[in-house]
């Protein structure tokens, strides 16, 4: 039974991981904090919904269109909101993305109303037994897709020239420029990938929690996950998210269920008191 709770916690955790990953990627490359990550996700969900429910497209093309849109939205955010303010202090960019988040929520409410909508899933909603553990196939699907996306990203950043160049840019923009790397294009690509991740998260979670304009609030859990794992660390974002998801599901198993929303942040505070850099965060060392 506990194992089962952990498994469904892992599925929720995958969503937090994706949110945290999107935040961490942008932070690592430009030290910008994108508060609109969750609402970019929400908008992509509504795009899929529009094509599938309202325009009667088949499911798979609707989802693919939404993913494509999420990439475009990432690029648009970078080009229209972030790049013009690239020389401004990072805090200004944070406020700009906060503003974008509010605009996106209002716009979505205007276009699609503030109701909740059921959202289709690619995976059959069944429960399968594996020994004594019963697992929901939707949860399995969430974990599978997340794992695939992360594997894809790992291979991209580790083994392709463009991916390596993006890591180089995040370590020294000056040296990257001297190598002939197009740093602006690298930033744009980071936002595109973050957009794709946010879109994927929307399509995975919307069937479970329903589609609504408040969906973007999941970014808060994404922040918690990223900080828990170690702010700015990519593996930290992944494991922080999964850890947070498990905690959130296991806590009500032992304590009154209202504790569900408190426990993750309580643990976050405890972790940060013991290890201020988060589980996998590095100390900031000054290079001599």
């Amino acid at each position: 039974m506990l194992l089962q709770v952990i498994l469904s916690g892992m599925a929720t955790g995958c969503i937090y991981s994706l949110m945290a990953l999107g935040l961490a990627l942008i932070y690592k490359s430009t030290e910008h904090v994108n508060f609109a990550q969750g609402d970019m996700s929400m908008i992509s969900g509504f795009i899929a919904f529009t094509f599938f429910q309202l325009l009667r497209f088949p499911l798979v093309p609707s989802l693919l269109i939404a993913l494509l849109f999420s990439v475009g939205l990432g690029l648009l955010m970078e080009r229209l909101l972030v790049r013009p303010a690239i020389t401004a202090p990072h805090f200004n960019i944070f406020i700009i993305t906060l503003g974008a988040s509010i605009v996106m929520q209002s716009l979505a409410g205007l276009l699609w109303s503030y109701d909740q909508f059921p959202f289709p899933t690619l995976f059959p909603n069944r429960t399968i037994s594996m020994g004594t553990v019963r697992v929901n196939t939707v949860n399995l699907g969430i974990m599978g897709v997340t794992a695939l996306l992360m594997l894809f990203l790992y291979l991209f950043f580790k083994y392709t020239k463009v991916g390596t160049a993006m890591r180089a840019v995040s370590q020294s923009q000056n040296a990257a420029l001297l190598m002939g790397i197009n740093v602006k294009r690298s930033f744009a690509l980071t936002w595109a990938i973050s957009g794709l991740i946010s879109g994927t998260a929307a399509l995975l979670i919307a069937p479970v929690i329903f589609l609504s304009t408040r969906m973007g609030l999941v970014v808060i859990n994404g922040f918690a996950a990223a900080i828990l794992g170690g702010w700015g660390s990519i593996p930290g974002a992944v494991f922080g998210g999964i850890g947070l998801g498990i905690l959130e599901n296991v806590a009500p198993y032992y304590f009154p269920s209202q504790i569900r929303n408190i426990i993750p942040f309580a643990v976050l505070v405890i972790v940060l008191v013991i290890k201020p850099t988060g589980m996998m965060g590095e100390e900031r060392r000054k290079r001599v």
């Binding site: 390596t164 160049a165 890591r167 180089a168 040296a175 001297l178 002939g180 790397i181």
Partner: protein
């Protein structure tokens, strides 16, 4: 090969270069001397396109390059080894070198450059999967030079290659600079160690507060009384003039 004609570069409102003119001919080593803040690093950054001059011209093989972005400069054959090495610390040695060849498309060319770098720096051969940040200071400088060689440049800009290295390593680095030069690469060298720089350079410029105050054959410069007293530390004992700020 390279010619700067009355180049003026600003950092914000500060005029860091106040009309620098200099020439580098093919296959020679030219050195820029001078105290910190004199404009040596700014000169190199202006040549490599990180900064653009407000006035003046930079010509490379007769073509104007003062408005070109850094990637165009690299493609034309100018490679810059920046001050403080500026490696990618969390990338491996191999990945750092691969980034050096970022503008190169031809795999054969890249392989040949890699072989050349590995021959020049055998010590890097055993560390290819290691993160650059874990290398020693000397190894890091070798990697920084190796990374610049990966684009197979015709001109290398070297900014303080001996900075922070033990005397033995300084000798080693200068030996390598000589070898690179002998293989046919032109070098523009910025150095605090004026002694060493004037030994290997053919021609030198002395920069102070953004202007060329003195230029001559390296041999003549090392005999020059002002250079001797100011940069070669050959003044009377106790009267040494220190170049770095913060010292009396």
């Amino acid at each position: 090969m390279l010619e700067l004609d009355r180049v003026e570069t600003f950092y914000g409102k500060v005029r860091a270069l106040r009309g620098i003119s200099l020439k580098v001919r093919e296959r020679e080593i030219v050195t820029l001397l001078g105290a910190n803040g004199g404009g040596k690093t700014t000169t190199l950054r202006t040549i490599s396109g990180l900064l653009h001059p407000a006035r003046g011209a930079i010509r490379f093989f007769g073509e104007s390059i003062e408005k070109a972005p850094p990637d165009q400069i690299v493609k034309r054959g100018i490679s810059h080894v920046p001050e403080g090495r500026d490696l990618f610390p969390d990338l491996t040695v191999d990945e750092n070198l691969a980034m050096g060849a970022y503008t190169k498309k031809d795999r054969g060319d890249i392989e040949r450059s890699l072989k050349r770098v590995m021959d020049a720096f055998p010590v890097l051969g055993g560390r290819r999967k290691q993160h650059a940040g874990t290398l020693s200071g000397g190894e890091q400088q070798m990697l920084a030079i190796g990374r610049a060689l990966m684009s197979n440049p015709r001109l290398i800009l070297l900014d303080e290659p001996s900075l922070g290295l033990a005397p033995l390593l300084v000798q080693e680095i200068f030996k390598i600079i000589r070898e690179i030069h002998q293989e046919g690469t032109t070098i523009l060298l910025v150095e605090q160690n004026a002694n060493m720089a004037l030994q290997i350079a053919r021609y030198g410029y002395v920069l102070e507060t953004g202007k060329v105050v003195l230029e001559d054959e390296a041999r003549q410069l090392s005999e020059n009384r002002y250079v001797k007293e100011t940069y070669l530390g050959a003044g009377k004992r106790g009267e040494k003039v220190h170049a770095s700020p913060g010292h009396p």
